[in-house]
C-alpha cells in the first residue's frame, strides 16, 4: 500500500477551538494529515466534523489554534484563498451547472481564453487530461445534467483536481452512490493518493473507512479522541470511541403506564427512500427512530404525516386505517410533525409568534369567518407561558427569536392542535441546554397525557435517555427494534452502521 511518495506533513491543524452562541463546536482539536494518505474522520452528528472542515475550507475562522498547509502557517483565510492554497472540497451536494458541458464545468471560474473569447480547444484538452488522470471515461462535451449522479461526482472531483490541490476533503461522498459507483470512486481516490494528494475522508460508513482509510481520527463532542492506524482498529472499537462518554446531560425519564397502540404502521414504503417499515407507538410511550443521516428516518416521518406520502403500506391510528396523502389529512388523522429543518419548514419568520402558533387550526378559532382575535391571543399567550417562551412576547416576529424558542413555538403549535401522535424530527438540534430541557419536559407532559411520541434524533444519548423503545433504520430498512433495557449507544450504533441485521 505504501507508495513511493513523499510522506511529509500536508496539513497540521493545532488546538483548533470554535464556539457558536451557546455551543462549543470544537475544543482544542489537533489533526495531522500526511501527504499521500487517506485520513478518515468519524464521529457522531454534532461531533464537530463539519465545523472542522468548514474551518479548513475558509468558511469559518477558528477562535483559537493554528493551521499549517505544507509547512506554511496560514492566517485568516476566506474560501477563495483556501482554494488557492490547494485545499479542495467535495461535498455531498454537488456544485455543478447542469446546463454547461463537462469541460465547461471543470474549468468554471478559470476558463482558458484567447483574447476576449473562451478557448474551447484548450478547455476540452484540459478536461480530457484531468479525466484521464482520474481514469474516468466521460465525454467532455456532454451536458452535465445528462450524466448519472456518479459521473457528475467524477466531474466534481475533476474540477477540484484540475486546480492541482494538495489536500482534498470528501464529505460523505458515497451517501447517494450505489455499490458499483462507490467502487469507481474508491479507485479514483486511490489514484489521487498515489499522486501524493492528502485526502480527508468523512463518512458514517465504518466499513468504507476500513477499506479506503490509512488512518482514522475519531471526534467526539468537539474534541479529537484518538488518531489510529486503520490497520489496527475494528469498527466496534471505532463505535466505542465515537460514543463512549458519560452522559453529561441527564434527561429525566418519566415512568408512565403504557396503553394501547395509537400509531401502527405496516409495511410502509416509498420508492428509493425506504421499504417495508413496520412500527407501532402506544399511548404514553416515547419511541425512538434511530439511524444515520440518509438512513430514511426523516423520510419515514414525513410519509406518516403526509408531507411526502407513502406509496405502499398501511397507517392506523387507534386501530382505524387512515389514508394520509397530505399534511391536512395527517392532521385530521391526529398526527403532527415537528420537521427537521426548522427554518425551512417550521416557521414563517415574518409573522408574529401568535400567527405561527395558530397556523394549523386558525380555521377553528373563528365566528362568521372572522378570527376571534381576543381568544387567539389569550390561548397563545397561555401556551407561550407554559412553554417558557423567552421573551414571552407573542406579537414579535418569529424570526427574531433564538433557535430554541422557535422550536418551542413549532412544538407548541402542534400541541395546540391536540394530536394523538406527535412525531419529532431532531427536536433539539441546534438548541441550547435550557431550551432543550423545556422541550423534553413538554414532550414528557404530552406522553403523560396519553399521547404517542415518535422521536428522531442523531444524538443517541438523548434517545437512550428519553425513549421506551428504539427502532433502528439502515439504508431505508428497519434493522432492529431495541427495548429500553437492552439499548446502549453501542447496540444502536452497531445496528445503524449496518453491522447487525434484525
Amino acid at each position: 500500500m505504501v507508495q513511493d511518495v513523499d510522506h511529509g506533513i500536508a496539513l497540521q491543524m493545532s488546538a483548533i477551538s470554535k464556539s457558536f452562541p451557546g455551543v462549543k463546536a470544537l475544543d482544542g482539536v489537533n489533526l495531522t494529515v500526511r501527504k499521500g494518505e487517506v485520513h478518515a474522520i468519524v464521529g457522531e452528528n454534532g461531533a464537530g466534523k463539519s465545523t472542522l472542515m468548514k474551518i479548513l475550507a475558509g468558511f469559518y475562522h477558528p477562535d483559537r489554534g493554528s493551521i499549517e498547509v505544507m509547512g506554511t502557517p496560514i492566517g485568516v483565510m476566506n474560501p477563495r484563498e483556501a482554494r488557492d492554497l490547494g485545499i479542495g472540497m467535495i461535498y455531498q451536494e454537488l456544485n455543478l451547472v447542469p446546463d454547461l458541458t463537462v469541460a465547461e464545468n471543470i474549468s468554471l471560474g478559470a476558463m482558458p481564453r484567447r483574447g476576449p473569447f473562451v478557448d474551447y480547444r484548450s478547455l476540452a484538452a484540459n478536461a480530457k487530461a484531468v479525466l484521464k488522470e482520474l481514469d474516468a471515461d466521460i465525454d467532455v462535451g456532454t451536458r452535465v445534467g445528462n450524466l448519472s449522479l456518479s459521473q457528475q461526482q467524477l466531474v466534481e472531483i475533476a474540477k477540484v483536481v484540475s486546480r492541482n490541490p494538495s489536500i482534498v476533503v470528501f464529505d460523505e461522498p458515497t451517501s447517494s452512490l450505489g455499490d458499483k459507483e462507490t467502487r469507481i470512486l474508491f479507485n479514483v481516490i486511490k489514484r489521487m493518493r498515489e499522486s501524493g494528494i492528502a485526502i480527508l475522508y468523512i463518512s458514517h460508513r465504518l466499513q468504507e473507512v476500513m477499506e479506503i482509510g490509512d488512518r482514522v481520527t475519531v471526534l467526539r463532542d468537539g474534541s479529537n479522541i484518538e488518531t489510529r492506524d486503520v490497520a489496527g482498529i475494528t469498527p466496534d472499537e471505532m463505535v466505542r470511541l465515537m460514543v463512549g462518554r458519560d452522559l453529561t446531560e441527564m434527561f429525566p425519564k418519566l415512568d408512565l403506564s403504557i396503553g394501547d397502540p395509537v400509531l401502527s404502521v405496516t409495511s410502509l414504503g416509498r420508492a428509493h427512500q425506504f421499504e417495508d417499515i413496520t412500527l407501532d407507538v402506544r399511548a404514553g410511550e416515547i419511541v425512538g427512530l434511530a439511524g444515520l443521516v440518509g438512513s430514511g428516518r426523516t423520510e419515514v416521518a414525513r410519509a406518516i404525516f403526509g408531507l411526502d406520502p407513502a406509496e405502499s403500506g398501511e397507517i392506523r391510528v387507534r386501530g382505524k386505517a387512515v389514508r394520509i396523502r397530505s399534511p391536512r389529512e395527517g392532521v385530521s388523522a391526529g398526527i403532527a410533525l415537528v420537521p427537521e429543518d426548522r427554518k425551512r419548514e417550521g416557521i414563517v419568520p415574518d409573522l408574529p409568534v401568535r400567527e405561527n402558533f395558530t397556523l394549523p387550526l386558525i380555521g377553528r378559532i373563528t365566528r362568521f369567518f372572522l378570527i376571534l382575535a381576543g381568544r387567539e391571543r389569550a390561548t397563545v399567550q397561555a401556551f407561550a407561558d407554559r412553554l417558557n417562551l423567552n421573551p414571552p412576547r407573542i406579537e414579535r416576529p418569529m424570526g427574531t427569536f433564538s433557535g430554541g424558542n422557535q422550536q418551542k413555538v413549532v412544538l407548541g403549535k402542534w400541541l395546540l392542535a391536540k394530536p394523538e401522535v406527535l412525531i419529532l424530527d431532531e427536536p433539539t438540534r441546534g438548541v441550547d441546554v435550557g431550551a432543550k430541557a423545556d422541550i423534553h419536559r413538554i414532550i414528557g407532559e404530552f406522553a403523560e397525557s396519553g399521547g404517542a411520541v415518535l422521536m428522531i434524533s442523531s444524538e443517541l444519548s438523548e434517545l437512550l435517555a428519553v425513549c421506551d423503545r428504539i427502532f433502528v433504520l439502515h439504508e431505508g430498512s428497519m434493522v432492529a427494534e431495541i427495548p429500553r433495557q437492552s439499548a446502549t449507544e453501542e447496540s444502536v450504533m452497531r445496528a445503524a452502521t449496518g453491522q447487525v441485521y434484525a
Binding site: 399534511p327 415574518d350 400567527e355 386558525i362 378570527i371 421573551p391
Partner: protein, 330 residues
C-alpha cells in the same frame, strides 16, 4: 445567519413600541397624500375643491379594484398578475355585448363571471400546477386579449341605454358609484385579508410556502384563490369603466397591470410575499391619482405621468430597501 442565536436581534419593532421607524412606516402614506395635496393647492386654486378631488378618485377607482386583487397576489407570494388588462377587457366587452341578450344587470354579472374564469385558469396553473405566475399570466393575458379581439374584430362595443347603466355611471349621495364601489370593496377585502383565516393563509404562504404546507395550510388553494379574486376584480373594473363611458374596446384596460402593481408597491406591500395591507394599497391608489392630476394641473403633457410615477416608485422602493437593511430586518 446561524441557526442558534442566544441573543435575539431586536429586528422589527414589537407591537406597541413606538420607534422612529415604525411611526414613519405607519404615517408615510398619509403624509405623502397630505404633501401632494398641499403641493396641488399651490399649483392650482381649483385643486382643493371637492369636485376635483372626487374626479381624481373617480378616474382611479376602477383600476383601484385591480390593485386590491394584486395585493392578495403579492402577499401570497404570487408576484403579480399580468393578465389584468385582458380580464378587464373581457369583463367590459361581455358586460356590454351581452346586454341585448340577457339585460344589463345579468350582462354585467356575466362579464364579471367570465373574467373570474380567466382568473381561475391562472389560479389552477399557478396554485396547483405550480408554474411561475409571471409566465402564466403573461400567456393567459395574451390569449384572452387575442380572444377578445377576435370577438369584436377590433371594433367598439357600445352600451345600450338602461337604468342600470345610468346608475353605475352616475352619483350616489354626490359621490360617483365607482368611488363607492372601490371603497366598499376595499373595506370588505381589507377585513378578509386582515381578519379571516383565508387572509392569514395568504400571509403564511407568502412568508414561507414550505412551512405553511407543513402546517396543513391549504397552500395551493390559497394561491389559486388570490388569482381568481384578481380576475373577478378585474372584471368588475372592466364593467365599471364600460358602463361609465358607455363603450368598450379590447384595449380598455391597457397598462392597468402596471398601475395596479405601482399602487401595491407604493403602499409598501412586499412583492415578495408575506407583508402588506389593503389600506396601504388604497393609499397607493390615491397617491397615483393625485400625481396624475397634478401633472395635468401643472400643464405638463400627459405622458409625463409615467415619468413622475416611475421616478417616485423607484425612490420609494430604494428608500424602503435602505431603511430595512439599516434596521436589520433583512
Amino acid at each position: 445567519m446561524s441557526l442558534v442565536k442566544s441573543d435575539p436581534n431586536p429586528g422589527p419593532a414589537p407591537a406597541g413600541t413606538l420607534t422612529a421607524g415604525s411611526v414613519l412606516s405607519v404615517l408615510s402614506i398619509p403624509l405623502a397624500i397630505v404633501a401632494l395635496m398641499v403641493l396641488g393647492s399651490f399649483v392650482s386654486p381649483s385643486f382643493l375643491t371637492a369636485r376635483n378631488l372626487v374626479n381624481i378618485l373617480n378616474a382611479y377607482s376602477a383600476v383601484g379594484l385591480a390593485a386590491i386583487g394584486s395585493t392578495f397576489v403579492a402577499v401570497c407570494g404570487g408576484l403579480a398578475d399580468l393578465s389584468i388588462p385582458a380580464n378587464v377587457a373581457m369583463g367590459a366587452l361581455v358586460a356590454l355585448g351581452a346586454q341585448t341578450l340577457v339585460g344589463p344587470v345579468a350582462a354585467a354579472l356575466l362579464g364579471i363571471l367570465v373574467a373570474s374564469l380567466g382568473g381561475l385558469v391562472n389560479g389552477v396553473l399557478i396554485g396547483y400546477v405550480r408554474i411561475n405566475p409571471i409566465i402564466v399570466t403573461l400567456g393567459s393575458g395574451f390569449l384572452l386579449l387575442g380572444l377578445s379581439q377576435l370577438l369584436v374584430g377590433g371594433g367598439i362595443v357600445y352600451s345600450e341605454p338602461s337604468a342600470f347603466g345610468s346608475f353605475v355611471a352616475g352619483n350616489l349621495l354626490g359621490v360617483p358609484v365607482a368611488v363607492w364601489t372601490f371603497f366598499v370593496v376595499a373595506l370588505i377585502l381589507h377585513i378578509v385579508l386582515s381578519r379571516t383565516p383565508f387572509g392569514r393563509w395568504n400571509f403564511a404562504v407568502g412568508g414561507n410556502y414550505e412551512a405553511s404546507a407543513a402546517s396543513a395550510v391549504p397552500v395551493r388553494f390559497t394561491r389559486a384563490a388570490a388569482f381568481v379574486l384578481t380576475g373577478l376584480l378585474s372584471g368588475m373594473c372592466g364593467v365599471l369603466i364600460a358602463l361609465s363611458i358607455g363603450q368598450a374596446r379590447p384595449i380598455i384596460g391597457a397598462g392597468y397591470e402596471f398601475v395596479a402593481i405601482s399602487a401595491v408597491v407604493l403602499g409598501g406591500t412586499s412583492l415578495f410575499g408575506g407583508r402588506g395591507s389593503i389600506l396601504r394599497t388604497v393609499g397607493g391608489v390615491i397617491i397615483l391619482a393625485l400625481i396624475s392630476n397634478l401633472i395635468v394641473l401643472i400643464g405638463l403633457p400627459t405622458p409625463s405621468t409615467g415619468l413622475a410615477t416611475g421616478t417616485i416608485i423607484l425612490l420609494v422602493v430604494a428608500v424602503d430597501a435602505y431603511l430595512r437593511r439599516r434596521t436589520g430586518a433583512e
